[in-house]
Amino acid sequence: MSTLAARAERAAAVAARHADAVDREGRFPEEAVAAMKAERLLGLQIPGQFGGEGAGLTQIAELCSTLGQACSAAAMVFAMHHIKVSSLVTHGLDSRWHGHLMERIAGEQLLVASSTTEAGIGGDLRNSLCAVETTGDCFALGKDASVISYGAQADLILATARRHPDSATSDQVLVALMADQISLVRTGDWDTLGMRGTCSDGFRLEARNVPLEQILPKPFAEIAAQSMLASSHLLWSSVWYGIATYALDRARAFVQADARRRPGQVPPTALRLAEVSNAHQAMRGAIVSALRRFEDAHGDADTIGSVGFCVMLNNLKVTVSDMAVDIVRGALAIVGLAGYRNDTPFSLGRPLRDVLSAPLMIGNDRILANTAKLLLVQKGSGQLMSA
């Protein structure tokens, strides 16, 4: 078996075996990531000319869901890696240095992390305090990165910074920093309720004598609007869908076991299962229709950067993150104490704690506030099938 689905299943099986230990110890899912590398899943999106497989976001989303059913943290690491790779693929094709970087990511299966969050700015992607300081052909960058997910384990980090020390906080660039070009001093620990294996510690990041060509040529504003917003919301949603699917499957197995013990009766929990299944289908519909709209845009920057598209993606994130929590809680209510306990085949504690991060990572209120601004100008929402 060497279809993409089979490769993902094999990596997911490894991730599932270690998921409880990753969660309990709050450690990086190293076995799962090693399996992703062995199955060559980290270079999937890289175009064929650079040695990758040219996979689209829909295929990556499917893998996020498969991995999300096994280990939320491993799936989120995979998603975050591919969100960064999508920025490289969308905006780095014309840059010789970044073309070579893509070859290395595909060839050596390098893991890419992201540094956007910064002390004094928080999670506001589109503002930075730190700035690129240029001397000759090189630059230096120092950043108080209050969160860098798997920063200590990544082979390279894509970091946002102001273009110049005099630039406005929103005039940002995205720079690629290889692990051997930076020093990371840990300034905060990631000791959380769930998603413990993403190891999203805080760091003081210092880089010196980095060649200027490692700065992506496009302004970060464009990168954020044209690739990051879409890939983040679509891939995160797919991870949460995977977590919700795992919980629904546990609840279904529980109800069916109950039904087998009492032939001729429909267990009372089956009604609750019907409700959860209903929500799960609606969640899937929301994600699939957003993925279709993204694919139908064929990378057209004007479509993907339009107000209507941005509203659609914002709505997807808010809807899906809330539904994922509701579904896992609904599944727990069906399974009852067997789900509350940590030592049964129906345990749902870990997925519940993991999925509670969904409405918080880029807080839903912040996203709704952004949508509220966009709705001040968006016009009619179009037809059933076209918008």
């Binding site: 589109r126 302004p219 920057a301 950067g305 339009s306 001040l376 100008v377 016009k379």
Partner: protein, 84 residues
């Protein structure tokens, strides 16, 4: 009606361009100079109010608001459509 001057005046009320809207060239990238998504929404609202027009959804993208020239062309087209 001097559309370009009106656009500059509206831009000047944006924090990123305060005091320097008159010095912008027609083709300076407004986004590179610090126009953010909220700023562009405010800009659209002000333009709609000033020129009594409505930007249709297909013009609500970064390109339409990327430079003074792009804004002027979009506004001129919409004014002509309203008049027709």
């Amino acid at each position: 009606m001097n559309i370009a001057q009106d656009i500059r005046e509206i831009l000047g009320s944006n924090e990123a361009f305060s005091g320097k809207a008159d010095r912008l060239s027609e083709d300076d990238s407004l986004f590179d100079l610090g126009l953010d998504s909220f700023g562009s929404v405010q800009l659209m609202l002000a333009l709609e109010e000033r020129f009594n027009i409505e930007f249709p959804d297909e013009l609500l993208n970064r390109k339409s608001f990327s430079t003074i020239r792009a804004i002027r062309e979009a506004v001129s087209t919409l004014i002509q459509q309203e008049a027709a």
